[in-house]
Symmetry: C2
Subunit: 518 residues, 2 copies
Amino acid sequence: MKNAVNREIPDHLLGSDRQVYQGKYAKDGTYVQKASPRTRRHVKPEETKLCQSIREACERCGAHDGMTFSFHTEFRDGDYVASMVAKVLVEDMGLKDITVAATSLGQAQEVIADYIEAGKITGIQTSGVRGRVGEVISAGKLAQPAIIRSHGGRPRAVEAGEVQIDIAFLAAASADKYGNASGLGGKNNCGSMGFAIHDAYYADHTIIITDCLVDFPNLPASINAIDVDCVCLVDQIGDPSKISTKEARMTENPRELMMAENVAKVMAATPYFKDGFSFQTGVGGPSLAVTQFLEKDLRAKNIKMSFCLGGTSSAICHLQDQGLVDYILDTQDFDQGAIKHLASHPNHLEISLSEYANPANKGAYVNMLDFVVLSALEIDTDFNVNVVTGSDGVLRGAPGGHPDTAAGSKCCIIVTPLTRGRMATVCDLVVTVTTPGDCIDVLVTDYGIAVNPARPDLAESLTAAGIKHVPIQALRDKAYELVGQPDDLEFDDQVVAVVEARDGTILDVVKKVKPFSL
Amino acid sequence: MKNAVNREIPDHLLGSDRQVYQGKYAKDGTYVQKASPRTRRHVKPEETKLCQSIREACERCGAHDGMTFSFHTEFRDGDYVASMVAKVLVEDMGLKDITVAATSLGQAQEVIADYIEAGKITGIQTSGVRGRVGEVISAGKLAQPAIIRSHGGRPRAVEAGEVQIDIAFLAAASADKYGNASGLGGKNNCGSMGFAIHDAYYADHTIIITDCLVDFPNLPASINAIDVDCVCLVDQIGDPSKISTKEARMTENPRELMMAENVAKVMAATPYFKDGFSFQTGVGGPSLAVTQFLEKDLRAKNIKMSFCLGGTSSAICHLQDQGLVDYILDTQDFDQGAIKHLASHPNHLEISLSEYANPANKGAYVNMLDFVVLSALEIDTDFNVNVVTGSDGVLRGAPGGHPDTAAGSKCCIIVTPLTRGRMATVCDLVVTVTTPGDCIDVLVTDYGIAVNPARPDLAESLTAAGIKHVPIQALRDKAYELVGQPDDLEFDDQVVAVVEARDGTILDVVKKVKPFSL
C-alpha cells in the first residue's frame, strides 16, 4: 500500500495498530489512551537502593529473557553505560531475545552489533543508528526489522505502549543513594538528561548508574527518586570529551559558511524574523554555523529570540549570554561549553523529549517553533528528506528531532551542499524518506536556493528581499550535471528497518542491500 | 470485619479491590499497574489553548454528567477557582452526578455544600473537609460515602485508577497561552503548586485558570504545557491574604510554647538529632512553634538539617536563611514570607504530592524523614490519632500528610494539649482513626510526655536525657480527671465517609451522627 509520500509499504507490516503515513497533521486532535508502567512500591523508610553491581541491580529488577532495556546517549561517542549493561545482560546473565530501545546507537555501542550477530539481541528501536550496528542491521542480521523513530516519536511510542521498557539504565553524572540523578554535578557531566527523563516515568524499573554518589538530596534532579528502583556506583560512566564529535563541531569550511550565511539571510527575509521568534538548528556543520550569522541580524534589527530549542551548542549559549535569547530549552548538550552553561544560567533549562517533540501530548515545544535549520543526506524534488540511509542504502544516520521540528516549525530550512563526494544530494527520489516533504519549506545549497511550492508566501518574501531562488528541479539538474545521475540501488525483499513517522504510522521501509558484504 | 487498628469495617464496603488496613508496611514491595489518562494530541503548531470563558474550556474538554473534576487548594481559604468552576458545571451547564476530587475542602468551597444538598454533586474525595461541606456530609446528604485520603494516598489512588479525573481545573498565579503555569510570578501568588502537579499528569484534561497571562515560555513552570488542554484568564483566582489562616499562624499561647519547647527537647534527646537530619512539622499552633526552639539546639550542637519537608512557613525559611537547613522541599506555602522565599532561594524547591508522600511510588520523601511533629484532635491509648472528626463526630479536619509522615518518619511526635475546651484529647478510643497508632512514637502534652511502648529505644533515649515520661494511660487518666470521661457518641448505621489508609485499605469509617441537625 502506498502512503502519503508515495512509498510502497508491504502489507504484512500493516494492521489495525499500524497504518501508513497519511500526512503530518492526520492524527491531530484524536484521543490516545496512554500506557503506563507496572512499578514496585517502596513504602518503608531507609530501604537502600544502592547495589554493589549492575548485575545485582538487574536481578533486583527482574531482568529476564525477552526483556526490553533502554538507555540514553547523551554522552554520545563517549558513552560507557550501554555497553556495560549489554555485557552484563548477555554475557554475565546469559539472557537472550533482548530488545534494545535506545535514543541512538553509534560507535560507543558497537558491542550491540556483536550481540545482534550472536542472535542474543533480536530487536532494535532507536532514533539513530551509525557504525557497525547499522551495518549488521542493513545486512539483515536482526531477527525483526529495526524500528527507527524520531525524538518525538519515541516518547509517543512509549506512551502508546508500543515500547514497553522493562528496565531503563540511565547514566547520571551525579546521584544520591535514593536515586535523585542529574547530568551535572559529577566528575563526568553530560549536561541535559532530556533523553532520559521520559524513560524514567514509563519504564517498569529504572536503574541509575553513576560514578559520583553525592549527599541526599541531590537536587534539582533530572530523574526523580520516585521513579528509581536502584542506584549503582561504577568507576566511569563515560568520557565527556567525546561528546563533541565531528558532527557537532563548528565548521571552518568556507562553502559551509557561505551556505550558513544564506540561511541567515533567508530567515531574515521571512515575516517570522521579528522580536520574540524562536529557533532551532541541528548538529551538522552548516546548520550549526547559522547561529554565528544570526547574531549580526539580531543586532541590526534590535530584536531577540524568545527561545532556542533542542540540542544545544556553545554558539547558542553565547547568544543567550549576549542577551539575544531569553530561554534555551535543552534536550542534549553538544559540547563542554554548553554543559557548563546549563549548570550556571538560570534560563538555560533542561527539557524532556516529550516536552520537546512528542506529537501525542497536549502540545510540545516544536509546535511553538518559528525556524528550524536542518541538514540532509539527500532531498528529492518532492522535498522529502533522507537522513538515515547512506548512498549505498546502509543505515548510518539519525532522524533525531528532524521530522519533529520540521513538522512543528513555521519555517523549516534544509541546508546541504548540492553534492557530497560523487553523489547528488538533491535528487529525483531519496533512498529513504525520513522527513516528509510537506514539512520542508526552503532548501539552501551551495548552488542556489529553492522554496517548496506549497509555500508561495515564503517564495514571495524571499523575492521581495532580493533573494534569488529557483525550482528544486533546477538544483537537481545541476547536481546531476556535476556528478551524474546515480544508478538505482539494488535491494533484497527483506525489510531490515521500518521508518516510523512521528505519529506512529509507517513513513518508509529500509530493505537489505543486494549484494551486501560487511 | 475488624482491621489492624481494631475497627469494625462493614462488609459491604469491602471487595477484591478494597481491603481492611493490615499495618503500615503491609503492601511494601508489591507491584502496582499504574493507570493513565486518555489525552488529546496537539500536533499542529499555533493552535490556541486560550478560552474566552471557563464554560468554553469545559465544553472543549467534554464536561459531562457523571464526571469527576479536581482542583488544588493552595490558596486555602482564599481560593476562588473551585467555586467558580462548580458554579459553571452545575448552574451554567446544568450537569449532574458530579464527583469532586479535591486536595481539601473548606470555607472557600462552601458552594459545594449547596450542590451536595441539591443532589448535583454526589461524590466527594478529599484530603480534608471543614465547614459546611463537612456538616452536610456528616448529615448523610451525600449520595455515596465520601472518601478521605492522605496527601500521599491521593496520588496513589489516582495512579491506581481509583480516581479517574476527567478535568483538573488548576489555579495558577501565572501562565502563558500554551499552559506553562506557576504558583509564582503573578498578581496573586500561592507559591508551591505541589498539590496540582500530579493531577496535571493524570487527568484526562487539564484547564489552567489564571489571572495573569505572561509571555511564552513561562518557565520554570509547575505545570507543563504538555499536560494542558486549555488556558482561561479570569479576573481573580484567589485572595492570597487568606492563605495564612488561624491554623497556620505562629502561636503566642504560653502553654503551646511550653509544649513546643518540650518537643524540641525530645527531638534533641534522640539519636536522630545529628548533623544532616530532616524535619517536618504540621500547621497547628504548637507544632509550628517547634521550629523556633530548634534554632537554639541546632546552634548549640553546631549542626544543620539536610531538608525540611512539606507545608512551609516563614519560620522554616528563616532557618534556611540562617544556613541551618540545606533544602526546603515544599508542597504548599503557609504564609506570604514562604511564598516569596520559594521565589528567591535556589534550594527552596517545589515538590509534588507524589514525590512527597505517595506510598505506591518507588520511594517518597517521607521515607527519608527523621522527625515529624504533628498535632491531633484526639489520641487514644493505642496511640491511634484522629484529625478528622470533632468531638461531636462531625467531619471537620484534614489528614493531609499526617498519616504519610507518621508512617515514613523515624520519629513521629504528636503535640497536643491534654484537654481542649471540655474534652479530653487523650482518651480510651478516638472517634475516628485517621493515623494508625503503629506510626506514632511520642506524645507531648502540657501535662506530660508518653512514649509508644513499641519504641523502647526512644523511651530509653528520653530517660537518658533526663526527660520524664509516663505511660499514655496516665495522661488519659489525668485528662479524664480534669474534664471527665465523655459519653459515647451515638451514630446511625449509615456510613457517610470512608477513611482510607495511605495504601488504599480502609482504616475507619465515619457514620452519620444521631441526632443531627444542621
